[in-house]
Amino acid sequence: MIRFILIQNRAGKTRLAKWYMQFDDDEKQKLIEEVHAVVTVRDAKHTNFVEFRNFKIVYRRYAGLYFCICVDVSDNNLACLEAIHNFVEVLNEYFHNVCELDLVFNFYKVYTVVDEMFLAGEIRETSQTKVIQQLLMLQNLE
């Protein structure tokens, strides 16, 4: 199960934080900082997986942004890694060549994209076509 999803830039600014388990605000802040610390020190030759407390982080870097998801140790690493990429491709299509600024200015829409693809810490929908269709349908609602 996914415990949380974080999108951070190299400087450590959070562009999205989505939590699937209860943490209080201080704990969330601590987690955000810890994840940034473990992920940014790794280079391209390293794996995309890091042990993290009793969980693991599966992450991928896109330009200046780190997409990180924290999952249970028994979860499938590569499936998580490709779930990130699938999500990024959807963002890319939805925002037409997504960049960091899109995520800043449209933060409330990013949550909708996340909820379409992940819910309750599980993968909800994997078809890019279906997700984009749904997002555009919602877009046209008042």
Partner: protein, 954 residues
């Protein structure tokens, strides 16, 4: 296609505000801008003019943005809740978002929020229903579970709900179940939920698979129907071409995430029994393995990643099934190819997955072929996490044939290993060297090298362990003494080395004292040269060594006494050191050499229990121990070729101050008192008072003749029967004599310590104790006393007598112990049964539920089973029954029997010639106060005997 920015829903004011914030040059400027905005919003919300939906949405969204920047928001919640009742999707969406992110579950607005969700969930518009469902799932509180636990399942199985709603409902329900697993009833909609796996819409199947996975874990019986559906769904996916599934094909791989979910779901259950389903599943797994050999359809990493995601999950399932040798070996070969792949991710995952394969008897050998590659990975990988996995795998693949090489490589790597993993590596090296030691000199060398290389990371458990082993192994003691002595000569040696050295020389220094180069004085001076550099705990240990030296080497008594009596010790600020120095110096000056020799006698062997180091590693890394435990179970099945110390003491030498036997807390007075406290200490765990008060002895002994022999016999039977469940305690007691027993058993051998206490004030003369065996035991048990039994016991004194024994083959009954002695010139005779019972040679074994049921089935012949139904003799108490079974020698297996009142256990009776597996099931019927006890064993007689033995004790 419309672009996002040109849409009518875009909130210009929000974009402007975000730009302003981004343009702020400093933290102060940002705060200022935010405060200005907050004031503005507050005034709008408080103003007389009612705000329209758009403005409300915009301001709530700004508040949310401010919150996400890390500022506290203490208003606007009500406005957000108001947005929920808007008819417009975009307004509702912002309202729900604000609530999911910002409203805590104990908010007083929760009632209002739940009311709004209730309205939306029953709305005819699917988008509104979904917003509501997502909000429930995102908050996921207990309150939500209570409010919607009934509603959400209805949506899930409704004929009218849209696919999208079903997807959300499935996962929303999953969240509610995770929050309050006990509040839900699962059975009633089980069959309809299971059939979602057949749904036309792959998205619905994807969501439902996760829900069913969790339900299967919670209530396996109700959901076992999902297995065949999951297999056929999986089969349709893996045999499809990539064009079949269109939207759900990702980089030429058909539905990779759904495949992974289905493969994981199947790991919740044992292999399907129906041949057709099983055959289809094996076919799927073969197809997945075959696809890896095909040329890739794309060079993109996304293609290989998603293909391999499915492959790794399939391998997990193959390992879970663990009965398809062909698949296991193929999996191993595939992973072997990945070990040299240029992608770090794949090398990492292959190492991780192979670790599990190493635990299966079918693939263990195939894994071992890759030893060199793995050792190479340890040396060359750049990513520490990959090296870590290589260590794990080496640990898992280690066996008798390769242990020396693997341990040597791990020791070499330890020198440059990352700090983070050193402690764990030390534990692993310690465990492996102990487990596979064919030769104890190698073991001692390895552990001492471990302390040299990574002394700081050697935890207490590790150095305690080496001492336990040296004490228990006569053949290792001389070498150990010699080697620690050599190691201590290094100018700088680690404190842990001093501890081990101090302890071992204190016990076995005499074994090397013949050599001039390690004469008593040299040994002492060497140890004492380290004394001042050590911490108080080590110094305390060394003081104990010194007093042992006084006993071992009377010729250096004076030198040592000078040290003990030095003010550095006697007036040390540390109370422990002060006390030890004082007591030891007194002990050595006022007691006779005999008393000193008794007090400081060589430590008795440690009882064998679960390894403390293994326990520690398990706590640190539960997963990595699994493989080795599996291995152990296998070793237990086949007769072990070397004496393996798998089950080893948890008890560390609690305090090297063995002298506590003397009861140093009370000043030592007369020898008589000290022997009494010795008795107490030996039976520290016994539940009844053992040592009689010396004062009362005389009056009681005078009435000795009036004891009713029958009553005494009954009492003795009762005492005997308790030994079914324990190994030490009082076996017999009358007014003259008390007989205590302390037994240790290991595999097919045992040692019985007998303690005879004279309760009278006078000497018991012509004492004899002989062990004899009835015809039924001849040739089945060998018994040999270690020394001749004592011939007299002084008044108030206690003497010991040890008997060694060996179980050749299965037996029933017990040997007899015959005592004769003379008290007040009247000959007395007592015949007792020695508590050497077949169950003493039983060791518990742990196994997962699936294994238990498999073995249970394998022992299905009528002769292999004995079942008894009987009235409970004691109140029915699960915990007490568990304790009894554990004491009996069985492992009580948790979470195996679906009924928590039932107990199941398993154990292996180890005799010299065979190993007999035994399984047990105890089912209480609380209403009728009855039990049903079923024992199955590969040898029918054993099942019958165990059943009879246990029957009267529940």
């Amino acid at each position: 296609m419309p672009t996002v920015s040109s849409r009518g829903d875009a909130m210009r004011g929000l974009a402007v505000f975000i730009s302003d914030i981004r343009n702020c040059k400093s933290k102060e400027a940002e705060s200022k801008r935010i405060n200005k905005e907050l004031a503005n919003i507050r005034s709008k919300f408080k103003g007389d003019k009612t705000l329209d939906g758009y403005s409300k949405k915009k301001y709530v969204c700004k508040l949310l943005f401010i919150f996400l920047l890390g500022h506290d928001i203490d208003f606007g919640h009500m406005e957000a809740v108001n947005l929920l009742s808007s008819n417009k999707y975009t307004e509702k969406q912002i309202g729900y978002l604000f609530i999911s992110v910002l409203v805590s579950s104990n908010s007083d607005l929760m009632k209002l929020i739940i009311q709004n969700i209730k309205n939306d969930i029953s709305s005819p518009k699917p988008v509104h229903v979904n917003l509501a469902l997502h909000c429930i799932a995102n908050i996921g509180s207990a309150e939500m579970s209570e409010a919607f636990g009934q509603e959400v399942p209805k949506l899930l199985v409704s004929a009218h709900a849209s696919e999208s709603v079903k997807q959300s409902a499935a996962l929303c329900l999953l969240r509610l179940i995770r929050t309050l697993p006990d509040a839900m009833t699962y059975a009633e909609w089980a069959s309809r939920v299971i059939h979602l796996l057949n749904d036309q819409h792959m998205g619905v199947v994807t969501s439902a698979a996760s829900l069913i996975h969790t339900l299967s874990q919670l209530s396996p019986g109700d959901y076992k129907g999902c297995v065949s559906l999951a297999v056929s769904r999986l089969s349709r996916i893996v045999t499809s071409t990539y064009t079949d599934l269109q939207d759900y094909t990702y980089y030429f791989v058909p539905a990779p995430w759904l495949s992974v979910k289905l493969l994981r779901l199947l790991q919740c259950y044992p292999v399907p029994e129906e041949p057709a389903v099983r055959g289809r599943l094996v076919e799927c797994l073969e197809t997945i393995l075959n696809k890896c050999q095909e040329p890739p359809k794309s060079k993109k990493v996304q293609h290989s990643n998603s293909k391999n995601a499915v492959l790794f999950e399939a391998i997990n399932l193959i390992i879970h099934i663990d009965s398809e040798p062909n698949l296991l070996v193929r999996a191993c070969n595939q992973l072997g190819q990945f070990l040299q792949h240029r992608e770090t991710n794949l090398r990492y995952l292959a190492l991780e997955s192979m670790c599990l394969l190493a635990g299966s008897e079918f693939s263990a050998d195939a894994v071992k072929k890759h030893r060199e590659t793995v050792i190479n990975a340890l040396k060359t990988e750049r990513d520490v996490s990959v090296r870590q996995r290589a260590v794990d795998l080496l640990y898992a693949m280690c066996d008798k044939t390769n242990s020396e090489e693997i341990v040597a490589e791990m020791l070499a790597y330890l020198k440059k290993a990352d700090y983070a993993i050193r402690e764990e590596m030390v534990l692993k090296v310690a465990i492996l060297s102990e487990k596979y030691a064919s030769d104890y000199t190698w073991y001692v060398d390895t552990i001492l090298q471990l302390i040299r290389v990574a002394g700081d990371y050697v935890s207490e458990e590790v150095w305690h362990r080496v001492i336990q082993i040296v004490i228990n192994r006569d053949d290792a003691q001389g070498y150990a003494a010699k080697t620690v002595f050599e190691n201590l000569q290094a100018p700088a040696c680690h404190e842990n080395m001093v501890k081990v050295g101090g302890y071992i020389l204190g016990e076995f220094g005499n074994l090397i004292a013949g050599d001039e180069r390690s004469s008593p004085l040299v040994q002492f001076n060497l140890l004492h040269s380290k004394f001042h550099l050590c911490t108080p705990s080590t110094r305390a240990l060394l003081l104990s060594t010194y007093i042992k030296f006084i006993n071992l080497f009377p010729e250096i008594k004076q030198t040592i006494q000078n040290v003990l009596q030095n003010d550095n010790q006697l007036r040390n600020a540390d109370v422990e050191l002060q006390q030890r120095a004082l007591e030891y110096s007194q002990l050595s000056s006022i007691t006779s050499q005999d008393v000193l020799a008794t007090v400081l006698e060589e430590m008795p062997p440690f009882p064998e229990r679960e390894s403390s180091i293994l326990a520690k590693l398990k706590k640190k890394k539960p997963a990595s121990v699994q493989a080795i435990e599996k291995e152990e179970e296998k070793m237990k099945k086949s007769p072990p070729s070397i004496e393996n110390h798998v089950n080893v003491p948890k008890e560390v030498p609690a305090n090297t101050n063995s002298v506590d036997l003397l009861g140093l807390s009370t000043p030592p007075a007369t020898p008589q008192q000290s022997t009494n406290s010795l008795l107490v200490d030996v039976f520290g765990s016994v539940d009844q008072p053992v040592a009689p008060k010396p004062e009362s002895n005389i009056s009681k002994s005078e009435t000795a003749g009036s004891v009713d022999p029958e009553a005494a016999q009954n009492k003795s039977n009762l005492l005997f029967s308790r030994f079914l469940f324990k190994n030490s305690g009082v076996l017999f007691e009358n007014n003259l004599i008390q007989v205590g027993v302390k037994c240790e058993f290991k595999e097919h051998t045992g040692r019985v310590g007998l303690f005879f206490g004279n309760k009278t004030g006078n000497q018991l003369q012509n004492f004899s104790a002989s062990v004899s065996m009835g015809a039924d035991l001849q040739g089945k048990v060998n018994i040999a006393p270690q020394k001749e039994a004592p011939t007299q016991i002084d008044g108030g004194a206690q003497v010991q007598h040890f008997v060694n024994l060996e179980c050749i083959t299965f037996f029933s009954g017990s040997p007899n112990l015959q005592l004769r002695y003379q008290h007040a010139s009247t000959p007395q005779q007592v015949t007792l049964k020695l508590p050497v019972i077949i169950n003493k040679f039983m060791e518990g074994t742990n196994m997962p539920a699936a294994d238990f049921f498999n073995r249970w089935k394998q022992l299905g012949q009528p002769v292999q089973e004995t079942q008894k139904i009987f009235q409970a003799n004691h109140p029915i108490d699960t915990e007490a029954a568990k304790t009894k079974l554990t004491g009996f020698g069985m492992s009580v297996l948790i979470n195996v029997d679906p009924n928590p009142d039932n107990l199941v256990g398993s154990g292996i009776v180890k005799t010299k010639t065979s190993q007999i597996g035994c399984l047990l099931r105890l089912e209480p019927n609380k209403e009728a106060k009855m039990y049903r006890l079923t024992v199955r064993s590969s040898v029918g007689e054993v099942a019958a005997l165990l059943c009879t033995m246990l029957e009267e004790h529940f």
